[in-house]
Symmetry: C2
């Protein structure tokens, strides 16, 4: 279970444009999924109405496409709509300008709200009887009890079992470390 | 179905302290529930670490107790925790300072996150087979489909059928005017 704050994934070219020639991401904190990390590096996102989000964390390692993942609250603050997408499905999504200490980098597209999803190892998928592309449900207890009815299933031998929600979803159910949760087929 | 942005309910004494002797709330927009309105008047909330929320809307008419209703996101921004409560159950909740154009008014307690709830006329309650104090479920469709599992039931002859969520809950399911919703026993 992980609540992902807003963040971005960048290509090596974008990192160099923002942080200078030869620049690479520096791991600050290792995440639960293998080889994934929060980088020390952050950027400023400039939205379509000159509103900005500063200190947008970059997650590493670099990928083959640029993607910014915002909560719905962030979209409203920026004054535009980030459509709900699965990671990597960025065709037709809005772009934005990123600003780093050494330069700007424009995304023509790639600003999304990531759909709730679960990372499963093939053994986990077999245990639950699901496959990649299915949807599962996540039931959250406590005073703001709610059930996420469309948690997208991603399966990979490198994955460890982990549900990813965004901050709006986490805040809606006031998720605390001791809140009971249950993943259901 | 209504998404309530953060707001407060005030006593006549608080309104006079904030807006001057003899001041009364001025209806700006009538709400769906009978005689309830968003007032033209707004206040500034000063939190425990000198962080503020400006332009906090007052809902009228005046009540017999003072209550500030925030989303979880607002609590985080202010740096404190507003517990999840039903309206009016404010014992032991944090207080705050309110600032108006004519003075300050301190709430010793009353800052809450309102629990999801539904207003029902007795005829609606009979239709669904529920009574005041029960919980219902609200199923929301769309790409961020989720089900609110603990929607508190309030019944009153003056009420019209309406579910009240806060902005975190509305943003979690990316509620739009055409999003399908279903209220379930």
């Amino acid at each position: 279970m992980n609540i992902s704050a807003r963040h971005c994934h960048l290509t090596p070219e974008a990192v160099e444009a923002l942080f200078g020639p030869g620049a690479k991401l520096t791991p600050m904190k290792w995440l639960y999924q293998k080889d994934q990390f929060a980088a020390q590096e952050m950027v400023t996102l400039v939205g379509p109405r000159s509103r900005i989000i500063s200190n947008l964390r970059i997650l590493g390692p670099c990928r083959s496409l640029n993607q910014v993942e915002l909560a719905h609250t962030d979209s409203i603050a920026l004054g535009f709509e980030a459509p709900i997408r699965f990671s990597g499905r960025i065709e037709g999504t809005p772009g934005c300008m990123l600003m780093g200490p050494k330069g700007f980098f424009e995304l023509k597209e790639g600003v999304i709200r990531a759909a709730p999803h679960v990372h499963l190892h093939p053994d986990d998928a077999a245990f639950y009887g699901v496959k990649g592309g299915d949807f599962m449900r996540l039931r959250v207890g406590g005073p703001c009890a709610l059930t996420f009815d469309r948690v997208f299933v991603r399966v990979d031998p490198e994955f460890k079992l982990e549900v990813h929600l965004d901050t709006d979803e986490g805040n809606a159910c006031a998720l605390q470390p001791d809140t009971p949760v249950e993943l259901l087929k």
